[in-house]
């Protein structure tokens, strides 16, 4: 046999493909993110201050919301009456509190912040 040739290795190519798939499948871990906790804390701040001073008018609550969440949109609901603040987004984070009135009825104050 005198003719020269090139031995093309299918095994090497297959091995390379498998190894590349393994390396690419190592997904980077999601970044450490405390934004959700911060959002929940501020929501709680709003509810706590509103309940401490007596539930204010919706316009004042909207103003407080914009002060603590200047770049976010959300909604405020008082006993079912809901007001949207800004354009509704995705991933709503809901915090609510129940309030008892002097006549013994239970009302609900809830606050939604859209995380996205």
């Amino acid at each position: 046999m005198t003719s020269k040739g090139f031995y093309f290795s299918l095994e090497a190519l297959l091995g390379f493909a498998v190894l590349a798939l393994i390396v690419l499948s190592v997904a980077p871990s999601p970044g450490l993110d405390l934004r959700l906790l911060y959002t929940l804390q501020k929501q709680h701040d709003l509810l706590a201050t509103w309940l401490a001073e007596g539930i204010p008018e919706l316009s004042e609550m909207e103003s407080d919301f914009r002060r603590l969440f200047p770049d976010a949109s959300g909604a405020i609901a008082v006993n079912g009456a809901r007001v949207e603040i800004g354009k509704p987004g995705r991933n709503p984070l809901l915090t609510s509190a129940h309030v008892s009135s002097s006549d013994g009825r239970l009302g609900e104050l809830s606050l939604v912040v859209y995380a996205d």
């Binding site: 090497a12 871990s29 401490a52």
Partner: protein, 151 residues
């Protein structure tokens, strides 16, 4: 008639190609892992500052002042307990024991006034700002703003 000896070294392109592919794959894998570790190292330092900032602000707003911790929440004699989110204007501490990453702590009143509660030495960026909503006795709603930077 030719013999193997006359041909010299038998050079295998097949083995060379396989070896090169294996070495390049190993190098690529190590490079990916190196960048992953580097990313995690950078984000971990920032995460520590963020975590300390968030937890410290929460503790300041919800706890009263004790010998071990300068909380800002006022004590209510009527309720016989500390009232979270309600700060006593007159009982705010004049100075703060320094926390490792606290750059400044300021009360921003709704009427536009502000009061600097604590200021630390200049620190390195990145800095993170955290605002918490509070009530101040006699002044109404305010923002407690904490700025936290790396040491």
């Amino acid at each position: 008639m030719t013999t193997i000896n006359e041909k010299g070294v038998l050079f295998s392109m097949d083995a060379l190609l396989a070896a090169l592919i294996a070495l390049l794959t190993a190098a690529a894998g190590l490079l990916v892992l190196f960048h992953l570790v580097l990313d995690q190292t950078h984000s971990l330092a920032g995460y520590r500052v963020q975590r300390e900032g968030l937890l410290l602000m929460d503790a300041l707003v919800k706890n009263g002042s004790t010998a071990d911790f300068p909380g800002l929440a006022a004590y209510s004699a009527e309720r016989r307990r500390v009232t979270p989110h309600l700060l006593g204007e007159s009982s705010l501490p004049a100075s703060f024991r320094p926390f490792s990453s606290l750059q400044s702590l300021t009360l921003l009143y709704l009427d536009g006034g502000e009061r600097l509660l604590a200021e630390g030495p200049a620190r390195n960026p990145p800095c993170y700002v955290y605002d918490r909503g509070v009530l101040v006795e006699g002044r109404g709603k305010a923002l407690l703003r904490g700025v936290f930077c790396r040491d």
